[in-house]
């Protein structure tokens, strides 16, 4: 199976129905994408497929062969992703951090589609769980990004 991940073509020797999450973690040793529930419930495994937030734990690799996959490992190679990370640092978002790979991916996807999201947009898009309760910091960081005051170098 050929997968385009972070701009690089990878060959992975897995069955077509293997979830992308486990191809990333076990075959490619890219462990920045996390396993939380395996059931599309928590969002810890969120990656971008052609720019859209996708839950890799329920995405068979055969469905994304040929697509352009972005994981947290390459998020800063993307201008918007880099700004998101900078805002996360500025707002000191993470606590335990386990959900944050997924949160950063989800926020990047949201801001790509809706550059100036309202609270309702954020409510609708940011559905990843955070057991540490960093939700208000996430919301503040996204609003900050939407207002354009956080640049990539912050």
């Amino acid at each position: 199976m050929e997968l385009n991940i972070n701009g690089i073509q990878h060959h992975v020797d897995v069955e077509p129905d293997t979830p992308l999450l486990w191809a990333l973690r076990d075959d490619l040793a890219m462990t920045g994408t996390k396993y939380g529930c395996g059931l599309a419930q928590c969002g810890a495994c969120t990656v971008l497929v052609d720019g859209q937030a996708v839950r890799s734990c329920v995405t068979p690799v055969e469905k994304v062969a040929g697509a352009s996959i972005t994981t947290i490992e390459a998020i800063e190679q993307d201008d918007l992703g880099k700004r998101v990370v900078a805002a996360w640092v500025k707002h000191q978002v993470p606590q335990c951090g386990y959900c944050q790979s997924g949160q950063v991916m989800a926020a990047t996807s949201l801001l790509r589609q809706v550059p100036h999201p309202t609270d309702a947009d954020i409510d609708a898009a940011m559905v990843n769980l955070c057991r540490c309760g960093t939700y208000n910091a996430i919301r503040a960081a996204i609003h900050d990004l939407a207002s354009g005051s956080t640049d990539g170098g912050a």
Binding site: T31, G36, C37, L39, V89, C96, Y98, S101, G133
Partner: protein, 747 residues
Amino acid sequence: MVNGLFDDASLMQQGPVNLSRRRFMLTSAGAFVLGFGLPARQARAQAAQGPKYRGTQVPAFLEIRPDNTVRLQSPFIEGGQGTFTAMAQIVGEELDADPSTFLVENAPAGDEYAVMDSGMRITGGSMSVRNGYPAMRRLGALGREMLLQAGAQHLGVPVSELTTQPGQVVHVASGRTVKYGELAHVAMDLPVPDPASVKLRDPSQFRWIGKSVKRLDIYEKSTGKVDYAIDVRVDGMLHAAVQHAPRLGMTVGSIRNEEQVRQMKGVHSVHRLPGAVAVVAERWWHARRGVEALLVNWVEAEPGVASDIRVMPADFSTEEFRKHLATVSGKEENAETKGDVTRGLKNAHTVVEATYFSQYVNHGQLEPPSALARYNPDGTLDVWLPNQAPDMFRADMARRTGMDAEKITIHSPLLGGFFGRHFLYDHGSPYPQAIALAKATGRPIKLIWTREEEFLRDALRPMAAVRFRAGLDTTGCPVALDVVSATEGATEGLGTKRGKDLDPTALEGLTNKAYDIPDRRIAQLFVRNPATLGYWRSVGNSMNDFLYETFLDELADKGRQDPYELRLHLLRDNRRLTTLLKAVADLSGGWKRGPFTAADGSRRARGIGMASPFGSEAAAIAEVSLENGRVRVHEVWEAIDPGKVVNPAIVEAQVNGAIALGLSQVLLEETVYENGMPRARNYDGYPILALNQMPRVHVKIVESGEKMGGVGEPPLPAIPPAVVNAVSTLTGRRIRSMPLSRHDFAS
């Protein structure tokens, strides 16, 4: 990652230092670097000489590298609560080194790291900063003293002429400076000075303690660069997944399709473990698929055989257990008495009686449990696992394997949340299974529990049914209070035997309330739980303050008192809590109970809750409305007084996190058992708070200057009662249990 070679050249650059005194340590990045610490055994011997001061073995804690960065072995684990940053602030303040130059790691097991007053080392009970504060300050000061001594040798001047600036020793007279990094190899081999002799910095001169220093781990955590236990890999390792018996105590009878599963793609081997089956494979996905395909005939536990296991009965249901708790009678053991409650109730003008309930809840930390075990050719064992107490886990591994504890190395990566999940719970962690599988296969094994297995074997926050009886005087003020909680505490719920003293975690939050009620009694009616119990963020307080504070509002209503005014009255002689209660009311723009109509047209009300958990004080106000019959929390104001604060920004983040978990509990969470099994095995059946349910949060930190209390847990217990009291006011209905999702407000 572990089998790499260290770079011998870098070792030589350090100058001629006795190699036997060096330690080689593994950085989180996976490369070996030099440490200047003493061998652990030597450190232990020295520690034993001075029991008066714990945590004084500077070289065991500190490594100052040639590039002037400071590597600190923290006695407390980082799981999101900011401990590593706080430790860097405290040590850096006295060492005179900027916290931003610190690299902090969780220290290995070892007596030299037992810095707590109790002589133990656990991360929990919101203890880390308050318990580590004196020891870690002293440690930093001792390190600075050693660097000054080394500086005197290096510069050839008396130590009295030297001082420090961040990261360097300074000879003011000549203007010469030497970086710590240049002195460390000499300094860390000097004898540790007498701990009693060091002078600590005057708090008025603090540069980092008390400031919102940026956290050290934020960038890595925002870019997926942190390795949690679940992410660790070693050469030659295999992956494993397990399927547990549906009920604890059952054992593997036969496997109907073992051969078939062995033939499945990627499967290495199939194993029988106590109460579980396992599949080992080259990839975890194959292990999981294999283990879930196994058809196992589970055998019921034989009565009386498994004396060390809480055997889960086949007919256990939380609904029935709740009824049992409400009606059971038995010995009532008093935990707190004052005055004469019998007389108080008899003389009261009105007596109010009610029974309140708490539910089982799961930890739900986002990182599922895992463990990586590797036997080494020299007979030693390395284990990587999430844990809140390395020494206790190592002792348990020694007991299980029959190995000498010295031969076991525990690695404690950052925790993907814990909330009490990573204490030693028998049958609650994967490491015994990982060790057994590593032994059986002769290969390193990484075992990950699926979320489903985690929900099956998590240790639960206890349930309680609390019978309240209170007497009101003619003015409607409570004068007598009798409380009997039918429950089992988290600590006594860990094992199969009860201690001889009452478990303080069973009743904390019903006991130690500051309200001036002259005649009172708080008692426990012990009821053994079939489920395995555990600590959940803020432990007994997580439920007991809800039970007490909502009943207090019921009393206020019965006595026609305003709940805020009543609390002020009952706290009239307590300056600290009066200040705190007024602070939260001010923060909310003045106490306003409602119901009232908000700007958006919704009907809203506010409620109060207070709590005194883990040495701190907290008071909260919540504002709620109803949306389609469901409770919506709009605002939470919380004032917290932990005495003194090390990092206000971290405190504020912790308050936010504790509010989220408190809300999650009161709005949504409940672990339901039917037929001896949990109904929910993943988040779909056990919803937790999501972003769109998070209210705005307003925090006020009050530094009373009292003894330093905890921060991670104390903001939680006041939240559930604040919310429920608001809902009772809004709906006119008395609510005596959590979660609110159980109640239908549409009608």
